[in-house]
């Protein structure tokens, strides 16, 4: 963990220059791994050990997650399903370093996330994770390409390159002709795809998508899923939250959540 930021910066900068905008190659985890890289022990990208998340609203306690243990390996494509209110988004926020567990341990590429300070967390989110939020979270006063560009702004990419990469990412989701439109001038599905483009633009090692097909018709859903497949083939780790079975079926593995707890998937559920 010595000087992790500097290490990440140098790898980033060279990676940004060497990778063409349309490359989908995975990018390394921005903090030096604690394990011996030469042996390449399969350390899981995401590892939850007995994680609980309890929300306290006055007297009432809501356990959004109860004793969840979960391993997701590098380059896995995992779907997380479960009924509404079961804790899927809460889980994604913890996996994305946006929230901290009430108890239990969360390791990201072998690092206990609790030891990261705010700046390191911001850098990990910026360089390693691509988010697609359930409510898009686009900024209304910025045009589509400026929204897509945002993560690159915080990654200190030069303006010209930022624009080129943002436009390329919009092209990937089929919205090249809508680059100048504000989110208010786009349909729900188009906004969803802008949000997907924003998750892709930094070429992160992991994509966390919370119901990315929730607002899309079957063709658009197929497009987004094809995109995720492609990213997966290019070496990314993908965590997809959905409540549609046919969407979940695209993943290698499905994790079912009910009332904040994990259902160990049966053979029947995976084979569906």
């Amino acid at each position: 963990m010595a000087a992790p930021r500097d290490a990440s910066h140098t790898t980033d900068e060279s990676a940004e220059r060497s990778l063409p905008a349309d490359s989908l190659g995975p990018r390394p985890f921005p903090v030096e791994p604690p394990y011996d890289q030469s042996t390449r022990d399969p350390v899981p990208v995401l590892e939850l050990l007995d994680v609980s998340k309890i929300y306290r609203t006055g007297e009432i306690e809501v356990a959004a997650l109860r004793n969840v243990s979960l391993r997701i390996e590098e380059n896995e494509f995992v779907a997380i399903t479960g009924p509404s209110g079961s804790g899927k988004s809460t889980l994604m926020h913890i996996l994305g370093c946006l929230d901290v567990p009430s108890s239990g341990v969360f390791r990201l590429a072998g690092h206990d996330v609790q030891t990261f300070d705010e700046n390191q967390l911001a850098d990990v989110r910026n360089r390693f994770i691509g988010f697609v939020f359930q409510q898009f979270n686009l900024l209304a006063y910025l045009s589509a390409w400026r929204n897509v560009e945002l993560p690159l702004v915080y990654a200190k990419v030069r303006p010209a390159e930022r624009k080129a990469r943002a436009l390329a990412a919009l092209d990937v989701v089929g919205l090249a002709d809508r680059a100048q439109h504000k989110p208010g001038e786009l349909s729900g599905g188009q906004q969803q795809r802008v949000a997907v483009a924003r998750a892709l633009v930094t070429e992160p090692g992991m994509i966390l998508a919370d119901e990315p097909t929730g607002n899309l018709d079957s063709t658009a859903t197929a497009d987004v899923l094809a995109l995720l497949d492609e990213l997966h083939r290019a070496g990314r780790t993908i965590v997809l939250i959905t409540h549609e079975h046919d969407v979940a079926a695209r993943a290698q593995r499905t994790v079912m959540i009910r009332d904040g707890g994990v259902f160990v998937p049966t053979a029947a559920a995976v084979g569906a």
């Binding site: 700046n119 911001a122 850098d123 988010f131 006063y141 910025l142 945002l150 702004v153 915080y154 303006p159």
Partner: protein, 410 residues
């Protein structure tokens, strides 16, 4: 995110919320224009005082009755018994005793009504001697000035100021006309030159008569040889302080006073007159500036208020920016820059309004406003500083928000 991105983002935010930004700027603008104008008015008043004191003449000392211990020092006339006499003036005029004094003139004044036919005009009747012209550095444009012979003969003659002449005689030639003061007829023998000072009325509207005429014919009950003040002209600017010493010693001597602290008169130089007048002005300026600063403070609190509203309203944006990798420092910087843009814009507008006010004010009142570049730059810097100071709290609140709380809030 470099500074350029920060400024662009902050600029976008200011432009997106136009009305709100404009109202915030308004608060700062009013405060800054008030500061600029009060400072300008203070400067203007200073320059006016400077001019009117210069108009008294050069290398001048003014002796007034009353003790120096009174802090006003200058015009101790009110209530204090006039302790100055014609004898004092005569003593000061002694070349041997006071070699550095070039000329001495007494003044005794009262306000009177001057009648010419059916026209009347109230002016300052001033009793003085032939030396007044020399001491006060004034010329007559028509006729002649008072002479020693006029004084000796209690001559019923008067020299009037140019403004007085216009009021009484309009376009008529005043010389040789007869005016009436307190039922005594006086012949106009001369008209003074016009002094182009901003405070022109006191210098241009005046009626001068010989000392003897004043005390024996015009103003009954006035002690024959007491005077309101004595003006002393030193032989040069280098001898001013020597003349001061001589006058002080002579007057203490003629008044039979041994300790300087119990003197029953005070001597002021033009410089001391200036500083006294300015100290009054400065007190006023400081008071006004204080009020202006308070209004500026209110403007600053307005900035804070708006920035807090902005942080609350954009809580999701802050959460998103943090989720996408915005470090707390960058978030804080963005909101600080936003606040300082508001402050800076308000400051520039405030200075512009100040300049507009400085152009208009002299037309609607006789006050003078002097604006300096350094004061304007200072005011703009102050406005920006206010934006930053009052932006710190909202900005750090934004920076401290947990990304998930910010994202989840509606």
């Amino acid at each position: 995110m470099n500074w350029r991105d920060t400024f662009r983002t902050a600029g976008d935010a200011v432009r997106t919320h136009r009305l709100r930004s404009a109202l915030t700027m308004l608060g700062i603008m009013i405060g800054i224009s008030a500061v600029v104008l009060t400072v300008g008015l203070g400067q203007g008043a200073r320059s006016k005082v400077q001019e009117s004191i210069n108009a008294l003449g050069t290398n001048l000392l003014v002796v007034s009755p009353g003790s120096t211990t009174s802090s006003t020092g200058v015009r101790g006339g009110f209530g204090s018994a006039s302790t100055l006499t014609l004898e004092d003036a005569a003593a000061l005029s002694n070349r041997d005793a006071a070699p550095d004094i070039q000329a001495v003139a007494t003044e005794t004044t009262s306000n009177v009504q001057v009648d010419y036919g059916t026209t009347n005009w109230t002016t300052t009747l001033t009793a003085t001697s032939a030396t007044w012209q020399e001491v006060r550095s004034r010329e007559v444009t028509a006729g002649r000035f008072l002479t020693a012979a006029d004084d000796a003969g209690i001559a019923p003659v008067v020299v009037i100021g140019p403004a007085t002449a216009t009021e009484l005689f309009a376009t008529l030639d005043p010389i040789g006309q007869t005016v009436t003061v307190n039922n005594v007829s006086l012949k106009v023998i001369g008209v003074l030159d016009e002094l182009s000072s901003s405070d022109s009325t006191r210098n241009n509207d005046v009626a001068l008569v010989p000392q003897s005429t004043y005390s024996q014919l015009l103003v009954g009950g006035a002690s024959r040889d007491s005077v309101s003040s004595i003006y002393i002209k030193a032989t040069g600017s280098g001898t001013l302080s020597a003349a001061y010493q001589e006058a002080d010693a002579l007057l203490l001597n003629t008044h039979g006073i041994t300790t300087a602290t119990s003197a029953d008169f005070s001597i002021a130089t033009q410089a001391s007159l200036l500083s006294t007048a300015n100290s009054v002005n400065d007190t006023l300026t400081v008071m006004l500036a204080g009020i202006a600063v308070i209004s500026l403070l209110v403007g600053g609190i307005g900035v804070m208020n708006i920035m807090l509203v902005s942080v609350t309203e954009r809580i999701r944006e802050i959460g998103l920016r943090k989720a996408l990798g915005g470090r707390p420092r960058l978030i804080r910087r963005q909101f600080l820059v936003e606040a300082s843009i508001l402050g800076l814009a308000g400051g520039v507008l405030g200075v512009a309004v100040g300049f507009a006010g400085a152009a208009i004010l002299p037309h609607i009142s006789d006050s003078r406003v002097i604006l300096s570049t350094s004061a304007s730059i200072g005011a703009i810097a102050m406005a920006m500083a206010i934006g930053i100071v009052f932006g710190v709290y909202p900005a750090s609140r934004a920076a401290r928000l947990a990304p998930i709380d910010a994202l989840r809030s509606e």
